[in-house]
């Protein structure tokens, strides 16, 4: 699929997420916008090796997992009107995805655990691919590095780790909090096959999700991508736009 079409899909996904998040103001919109292009590349670009019917996506950073809901609805995992019932009584979609939601496979919400769980899935069925989407601020959890050592030792190459490297924690930049850089070098010392790419560039995404297929992809992204006043602003981690003007502007930019 050409990049223009992928970008168009990504925009509609972001708009959908923006709509259901701002409807009731229920959190982590900011974190849900950064990994959208990664997901669109996996799910819609035929040149990637990802197969949503066979492969499993695990969200380590489950607070960003609502980004997958419009995609799963589009692929008929559940009715589209579920998006309108997001976080409402009677709806099936929650702030953190969990295994009760069709197309989701893990109880989300506690950082640092998705990687170990995904490791178990990958080891149980080595012929299946597991795609793990982690947050960069999730890397501060020690359990992540326990699992990385294990993944390397057991050569679990069917587990593909994507770090949504948006550079922000809850209340500021990761490099001001505790330096993660040089992140690629740190990851390489655990699992050798690590690449850094622009997580919003479809050529780059296609490259790593098709022929290169490295174990770890550090996808440099922008938190709040697509909404100019939110992009890269850490305070939006916990704030969902609520004023009519902000919502109108956001929707305009995503339309």
């Amino acid at each position: 699929m050409d990049n223009k079409k992928l970008e168009k899909i990504a925009k509609s996904v972001r708009k959908s997420v923006f709509e259901f998040k701002t409807r009731d103001g229920i959190g982590h919109l900011h974190s849900s916008l950064s990994p959208v292009d990664v997901l669109v590349s996996l799910f819609y670009d035929e040149e990637t090796i990802f197969d949503h019917k066979e492969d499993i996506v695990i969200f380590g950073k489950a607070h960003g997992s609502p980004s997958i809901y419009p995609i799963l609805a589009d692929l008929d995992y559940f009715p589209k009107d579920e998006l309108e019932k997001y976080c409402r009584p009677g709806g099936i979609l929650r702030l953190h995805s969990d295994w009760t939601i069709p197309g989701c496979h893990f109880v989300g919400g506690s950082l640092g655990n998705g990687i170990g769980y995904a490791t178990g899935l990958a080891q149980a069925e080595r012929d299946k691919n597991i795609y793990l989407i982690m947050g960069d601020a999730e890397l501060y959890e020690g359990s992540v590095w326990e699992s990385l050592m294990y993944i390397s030792h057991h050569n679990l190459t069917n587990l593909r780790i994507i770090v949504d490297r948006n550079g922000l924690g809850t209340i500021g930049e990761t490099e001001k909090m505790l330096k993660l850089e040089p992140l690629a070098d740190k990851m390489k010392s655990f699992v050798g096959d690590v690449v850094e790419i622009d997580g919003h560039n479809y050529d780059s995404l296609r490259g790593v999700f098709s022929s290169q297929n490295p174990q770890v992809v550090i996808a440099k992204t922008t938190k709040g991508k697509g909404v100019s006043y939110m992009e890269g602003k850490w305070k939006y981690h916990t704030i969902v736009p609520s004023s009519k003007e902000d919502i109108k502007l956001g929707l305009e930019e995503l339309s």
């Binding site: 969990d98 295994w99 496979h105 893990f106 109880v107 919400g109 506690s110 640092g112 655990n113 990687i115 170990g116 769980y117 995904a118 490791t119 178990g120 899935l121 990958a122 080891q123 149980a124 069925e125 020690g142 359990s143 326990e146 699992s147 050592m149 294990y150």
Partner: protein, 315 residues
């Protein structure tokens, strides 16, 4: 043989026939592990000291249909409590946790290695079964149960502990609690006398047996119960009909522990009885000594328990 080696040994026999049985050792040793390493290397996973990862890994394997056992130190169950809750309990992944060195079992190593609260915090988890086998037959039966009916289980294993109360102690797990020492005299002339039920589990049963003997010597009516299943709560409405006093004895601090299970069980079935909880004091033990020394010096000697019983029934 220890309960631990018995469990690992019995499980090995099953694992040889079923490749989906996986044993994870969080760098914990046991002589029974050697055969796993030699003969079933694909089914033995040595994760290293990484409790959080090990539980998440086990949960993931379990989600794909593997029958997973995690062998770890009891004290570190607190360290991966979150992962047990999050990756096993919430999604219903039936991992079996083999908890070794329970309560003061590692006493010479100091309070960091002791688990005087694990019953309290583990039983707060949803969808978990907790077992404390008193002997080898019960340990073997738990191997069968965990394999045939997978569930999230926390099995507290003793080291060299194998208490048999009679020749027919065959390991049945039916009921979760059983009277192991009868001691009601059924004498109509003693209708108004106290009738004591001592309820305990695991390592404390040996001491409670001595307390019971002392009660018999001193003409105090009472029976000893082993409650080897702590969750689900096995107490029934009629279980203590014949008793006037119920006394729980545990190798734990009292906050939310074994005695609390008794109280909750009685309350849930609408039984009102006088209950005394006996356990470890609310403190960490920073003194040298082995398990029995610490029990003796922290209110859980046979004489101390007996004195508390007498004071309670005379109170």
């Amino acid at each position: 043989m220890t309960q631990r080696d018995t469990f690992i040994d019995e499980l090995f026999k099953i694992a040889k026939e079923d490749k989906d049985v996986i044993l994870i050792s969080v760098d914990m040793g046991a002589s029974a592990l050697d055969q796993w390493r030699d003969e079933l290397p694909e089914q033995f996973i040595w994760t290293g000291i990484s409790e959080q990862h090990s539980i998440n890994l086990a949960a993931g394997l379990s989600a794909k249909g593997k029958k997973v056992y995690v062998y770890m130190m009891a004290a570190w169950s607190a360290r991966c409590f979150e992962q047990i809750r999050y990756s096993c309990s919430m999604p219903g992944n039936p991992v079996t946790i083999l908890s070794n060195g329970v309560a003061l079992g590692y006493a010479p190593a100091g309070p960091a290695h002791e688990t005087n609260e694990d019953i309290a915090y583990m039983r707060s988890l949803l969808n978990v079964e907790i077992h404390c086998p008193r002997n080898i037959p019960k340990t073997k039966e738990l191997v069968r149960l965990s394999y045939e009916e997978p569930k999230l289980r926390y099995i507290r294993l003793e080291r060299k502990y194998d208490v048999r109360f009679n020749d027919e102690d065959n390991g049945s797990l039916i009921g979760g609690i059983e009277m192991v020492k009868p001691g009601l005299f059924n004498n109509p002339a003693r209708t108004g006398e106290p009738k004591v039920a001592i309820v305990s589990y695991g390592y404390m049963l040996g001491r409670c047996d001595d307390v019971w003997k002392k009660m018999m010597e001193n003409n105090i009516e009472g029976c000893l119960f082993d409650m080897y299943q702590l969750k689900p709560n096995p107490i029934t409405e009629s279980m203590f009909d014949s008793f006037t006093h119920i006394i729980s004895v545990e190798e734990q601090t009292l906050s939310g522990g074994f005695g609390s299970i008794i109280l909750e069980g009685l309350s849930d079935v609408g039984v009102k009885k006088d209950v005394l909880r006996i356990g470890l004091p609310e403190r960490y033990i920073f003194e040298n000594g082995d398990r029995d020394y610490h029990l003796d010096s922290n209110g859980l000697s046979v004489d101390s328990i007996y004195d508390k019983v007498v004071e309670f029934i005379n109170g």
